[in-house]
């Protein structure tokens, strides 16, 4: 994020106030833009991917009926992926004049990503292997993840090597690769997550039969649409060009792709129809329709605005699968939070022990108004640098008023305040 912020700032300064960051005539360098952009852009790909991994880690234990195998290994893999992601950006720039030694380093770093990713995949597979599988719709999308993401990962290892990348750069092979990675890594788990949490959000389950139809249309449609692009890329079809000469002979594979795209569209329409229909006529879900282990399933569906009347005491990673003795030997719920203020319990970072009680502010329009002023300032800055100067004033005022304590709230809070 800081990188794209800095790159965009430098670019708009070049355009508005005649700086020369990217102007080679005055000592600037156009490739600097690519460095800054990809230093943001590659980690960004993993940030798209990480929610998908979290969906996987939520859905797999539920439908395998057992706790996650190798939980610490999965967490460490995620952290490793995040760390490594900052050292691979140059693999998007193999076709530029970067020194060969640099390219070799970034090839090695890019291939290293396979290690933490494989570790996670093996942990999930072991969880399923050792569990009792329940193949409901969310789980089908999870299984598709394995098939599609692994294919995308393998083509990733291929394009991580410089000589192959020089052949495949800017061809449809890359388009195929990135769709296998991103749809496999983010969109399939996202669909799974929709089916999984829809009952918690709305109180009703999505239709299972339509769900299966949607899944198979999407899975087959995806492969029909994107698999042929590998071959088109190997045959040299360039990306970012909307058409191609007829005599290249790429017509039939492109037609197959189009058929796949239509199947995907049909599948998404089916999904929307299923969601709308289930909103009204879906099976009532109850608190925990999947028999899941995590806390959101311990409250009503949809949950009330306050989540729990009294916050539950959590002692384990899978709290709803913990045996409870009757009568309980340990506390099960938190009491003593203010009844008439928006007070929440803050716990410590590592051990989640109760730390202090924090009162949250009353509803206020100022966060929204601050966002509006920031938006106006930045839109204005596209046209004139003075927008930052004049636009900065309403931004400053809005965030200051947002912060400034309201007297009535202060008195209410002081009534329940305890000093440390």
């Amino acid at each position: 994020m800081p990188s794209v912020m800095l790159a965009s700032t430098a670019l708009i300064l070049d355009r508005l106030v005649s700086t020369h960051f990217f102007n080679p005539a005055e000592g600037g360098d156009a490739l600097l833009w690519q460095h800054l952009f990809w230093f943001f852009g590659h980690p960004e790909v993993y940030f798209i991917f990480i929610p998908g991994l979290a969906f996987m880690s939520s859905i797999i234990p539920t439908f395998s009926r057992r706790p996650m195998y190798g939980y610490p290994a999965i967490v460490l893999s995620l952290t490793t992926t995040a760390f490594l992601s900052f050292g691979l950006w140059v693999h998007h720039m193999f076709a530029t004049h970067i020194p060969d030694l640099g390219k070799s380093f970034f090839t090695a770093a890019s291939m290293m990503i396979a290690i933490p990713t494989a570790l996670q995949i093996f942990c999930w597979m072991t969880t399923m292997w050792k569990g009792r599988l329940d193949l409901r719709t969310p789980m089908l999308f999870v299984l598709a993840f394995f098939f599609i993401l692994v294919l995308g990962g393998l083509t990733g290892i291929m394009v991580a090597s410089v000589p192959l990348d020089l052949q495949l750069h800017d061809t449809y092979f890359v388009v195929a690769h990135l769709h296998y990675v991103l749809l496999g890594g983010a969109v399939f788990p996202l669909f799974g997550a929709w089916y999984y949490w829809f009952p918690k959000i709305t109180g009703r389950l999505m239709g299972e039969r339509l769900g299966r139809w949607q899944f198979w249309l999407f899975f087959i449609g995806f492969n029909v649409a994107f698999y042929p692009m590998h071959h088109l890329g190997l045959q040299g079809m360039p990306r970012r060009v909307y058409t191609y000469p007829q005599e290249m002979g790429w017509g039939s594979l492109n037609l197959v792709s189009t058929v796949g795209a239509v199947m995907i569209a049909a599948s998404v329409l089916l999904f929307i129809a299923n969601a709308l229909r289930s909103l009204r006529t879906g099976m009532l879900a109850g608190e925990n329709p999947w028999g899941a282990a995590t806390l959101e399933w311990a409250t009503a569906s949809p949950p009330p605005a306050y989540n729990f009347e009294r916050p539950p005491v959590v002692r384990a990673r899978d709290p709803l699968w913990e045996p409870v003795s009757e009568p309980p030997s340990e506390p099960t719920q938190v009491t003593g939070l203010a009844e008439r203020a928006r007070e929440a319990l803050v716990s410590t970072v590592l051990d989640a022990m109760p730390s202090h009680r924090l009162v949250f502010p009353h509803p206020s329009p100022w966060p929204f108004l601050s966002a509006v002023t920031v938006t106006l300032m930045f839109i204005g800055s596209i046209f004139t640098p003075w927008a930052i100067v004049w636009g900065g004033i309403p931004v400053t005022l809005a965030v200051t008023i947002w912060f400034w304590p309201k007297r009535r709230e202060t008195l209410e809070n002081l009534a329940v305040e305890k000093r440390p």
Binding site: S3, D14, H20, P328, H356, R407, L414
Partner: protein, 200 residues
């Protein structure tokens, strides 16, 4: 279902340092802005590596105002640290004094910074060297102004609005933490902008 209760009514309403949400918010800000500083310094050296000579066609910035500011910035650590300590002791009269002294230091630093801009010996639109020098010092100045403004707002709050909740003491403590970031990042930037071109 039988329930046993864990009574938290005896817990305090606020805590300092890494117990507080303010601290985590501030650390997030420092992580983002610190990365932006590091990357802008990276841009500086990248552009240098592409150049025949550096600075491209100018003298390095004059040492006088920049070095005076370095001294002022380092000296401001003392009142800042003192304010942080009295905030954690909950001593409101001392916090008021500390906020005023920190504000005065901040205003002096902004004034010297204005003079600094006049002795950089290059304009932002001269060449890429000028652009990156102005960008780095501009980024740092943004943070100086932001933190001085925060300090002024807190000072106004402590003088003219009362009674105050104890968690406002956490705000004073974390405001001081933000100033540490402004100080230590200036140390690095001073070395890059003022010293590096002279060393080679």
């Amino acid at each position: 279902v039988n329930h046993r209760s864990l009574d938290v009514s005896g817990l305090p309403s606020y805590k300092f340092s890494h117990h507080s949400l303010m601290w985590w918010g501030l650390m997030g800000l420092i992580a983002i802005e610190g990365t932006a500083f590091a990357l802008s310094v990276g841009m500086y050296f990248y552009l240098w590596s592409q150049a025949q000579q550096w600075p491209l066609a100018a003298l390095p910035p004059d040492l006088r105002w920049g070095t005076l500011n370095l001294a002022l910035v380092l000296a401001s650590l003392y009142p800042n640290h003192w304010t942080k300590r009295v905030a954690e002791d909950g001593n409101e009269p001392a916090m008021r004094l500390g906020l005023v002294v920190c504000t005065l230091f901040g205003l002096a630093i902004i004034a010297v910074r204005a003079l600094e801009f006049t002795t950089l010996n290059v304009r932002w639109d001269t060449d890429a060297y000028g652009s990156i020098v102005w960008l780095i010092i501009g980024l740092h100045t943004t943070h100086v102004v932001t933190d001085v403004y925060d300090t002024v707002v807190l000072a106004l709050l402590f003088f003219f609005s009362g009674p105050l909740e104890g968690r406002r003491h956490v705000d004073v403590s974390e405001n001081a933490m933000y100033w540490y970031f402004v100080v230590w990042s200036w140390l690095a930037i001073y070395a890059v902008i003022y010293l590096m071109p002279r060393l080679t």
